[in-house]
Amino acid sequence: MSTLLEVQGLTQHFSARGGTVRAVENVSFDLREGEVLGLVGESGSGKTTIGQAILRLIDPTAGRIVFRGEDITKLTDRALKPFRRQAQPIFQDPFGSLNPRMTVEKIIAEPLLVHGIGKGREERRRRVNALLAQVGLPRDALTRYPHQFSGGQRQRISIARSLAAEPALIIADEPVSALDVSIQAQIINLLRELQQRLKLAMLFIAHDLAVVEYISDRVIVLYLGRIMEVGPAKTLIRAPKHPYTEALISAVPEPEPDRAKRRIVLQGDLPSPIDPPSGCVFRTRCPYAIPACAEQIPALRQVGPGHRKACIRDEIL
């Protein structure tokens, strides 16, 4: 598969009281056509910021975003329009992201109007109906308003809206974490089925490792704005090579009583992104840290096929 999206040296700084927040620091990765790439990390890891920068909702401090060979980092709003049609977001909160004053038909038809898809009302309505069916909503949803739907159904509406412009790339930021447990699986199944059928590429941003592993082909693990590890989803979860990934996996509570799990409880707090530690940013909480870890920022190194980690120690994992 050919490369759809290249992120090169993406850096995002924000100025705040007390200094510069280094939200994302020199992050590079590729996304192939039809591939699902998971972005995991805890709060402050920069995962949401990366998604926003790719969508050009914020302007990167440094680095390049290349979509199908074209550098979109510096494009004007007007020049961005074709890209905006190709790259669509799905947000976490299906309550806040749908206009409460618009009917479902208007919500889903809006991207069609914006991008001039479908000639006339009739064709647009036909498309909206097809989209509703695709996401498993009844036809009579058309004339209703968002508040008349449950959280899961609202997320289906926002998925239909994202698909309306026939994008090649979906940026989904925590798309199931606001939903009830019994509804999450429905939406995960729907996203995966649509992704496979429409051969969509997807950047799947979430904190839930099990969900990310299930839906992603590859996974990037972020900590304090930097990539710690990247690799094929199965390999990375079953045999993590970076101490942070190992700790993250070990912290996930599993629905298995009386199973003694070896847990690495990280000590202390996330360091300030205004004044991150020297060298490896994870070293202040890493159980394997040695003095050399403070000396230089570890480069991402190959540790297996398509598998890289930013850690200078090899003998630990």
């Binding site: 805890e42 449950s150 699986a185 995966r192 490792l209 299930y214």
Partner: protein, 333 residues
């Protein structure tokens, strides 16, 4: 159950709405023993949070609470019915006998007072103690909670602490009067997993150290498995299954619990096996509950003419294991 710390009998909580009254908790009975951890598992609208607020006497009008009894055995060894206490008496129970922590620590911490001032106030409200002694107790509590530099942190304002530290400070305030029962309503839901692991470990350690019972409310089955002695599953305002953690996780007889366990993706799950076995449909609207079993429209064991006609009662299906399903004898995971 004799020797229970808290016994709730036939609790009912009703809220009036424009579309008629909503019964958020319906005929709920349960008990918890000293030092025990009961996890209440449920989704939105299950009634899990309303139950804990009702026990605390915190349901505000027009919400109405009816219960045969909410019996608490106090630190003095005497049992009292909380439904018969005055508001002044309840204020002494809250914080002193039963403490509660919430998902969002900023809802319980006052932003304009330091952490120390708030903990000291809580201690001195319940116990006769000098400020100096209360401050020493507060400092000791923060140390027990694994807060670095506890003396300095006493003088910090809530906004100066990280999310995990704030959660610890709130737990510190809740536990400063050594309650016999801690009610924790989704205390780790807003936290990152590594911080969640810290807080769960902390609650377990404190429980051992202080011999306190915990009612832990969560929607996360993994968290439940990690900390529960017993589990009560709630759905649409009712208890639908109760049993030991082992009985529920290894031998549930309830289609809803089975559905929840199967639908949650686990680490290492092979997605090539096909889609996740999701529970169809939606969490029911309490204003429009289905007839008969409240879960029947979503249930794969549904039997027409039975499940949509008769109202299931809690039945004993094993030792200490209750299940609300007309077909539990046929149901297995």
């Amino acid at each position: 159950m004799s020797g229970a710390l808290l016994e709730v009998e036939s609790l009912k909580v009703v809220f009036p709405t424009e579309e008629g009254p909503i019964t958020a908790v319906d005929d709920l009975s349960f008990s918890i023993g000293p030092g025990e951890t009961l996890v209440i598992v449920g989704e939105s609208g299950s009634g899990k949070s309303v139950t804990s607020l009702a026990v605390m006497g915190l349901i505000a009008p027009p919400g109405a609470v009816a219960a045969s009894a909410i019996r608490l055995t106090g630190k003095d060894g005497n049992a009292r019915d909380l439904t018969r206490l005055s508001e002044a008496e309840m204020r002494l129970v809250r914080g002193g006998e039963i403490a509660m922590i919430f998902q969002e620590p900023m809802t319980s911490l006052n932003p304009v007072y330091t952490i120390g001032e708030q903990i000291i106030e809580a201690i001195r409200f319940h116990e006769t103690m000098s400020r100096r002694a209360a401050r020493a107790r507060a400092e000791e509590m923060l140390r027990l909670l694994g807060i670095p530099e506890p003396r300095r942190r006493l003088d910090a304002y809530p906004h100066q602490l990280s999310g995990g530290m704030r959660q610890r400070a709130m737990i510190g305030m809740a536990l400063s009067c050594r309650p016999a029962l801690l009610i924790a309503d989704e205390p780790t839901t807003a936290l990152d997993v590594t911080v969640q692991a810290q807080i769960l470990e902390l609650i377990r350690a404190l429980q051992k150290e202080l011999g306190m019972a915990v009612i832990f409310i969560t929607h996360n089955l993994g968290v439940a498995a990690e900390i529960a002695d017993r589990i009560m599953v709630m759905y649409a305002g009712q208890a639908v299954e109760t049993g030991s953690a082992r009985a529920i996780f290894r031998g549930t007889r309830l289609p809803y619990t089975i559905g929840l366990m199967r639908s949650v993706p686990r680490l290492g799950l092979d997605r090539d096996l096909g889609p996740l076995p999701a529970i169809p449909g939606n969490v029911p609207d309490l204003r429009r509950l289905p007839k008969g079993c409240r879960f029947h429209p979503r249930c794969s064991w549904f039997e027409p003419g039975l499940c949509d006609a008769a109202f299931p009662r809690l039945e004993i299906c094993g030792e200490g294991h209750l299940v609300r399903c007309l077909r539990w004898r046929q149901v297995h995971a």
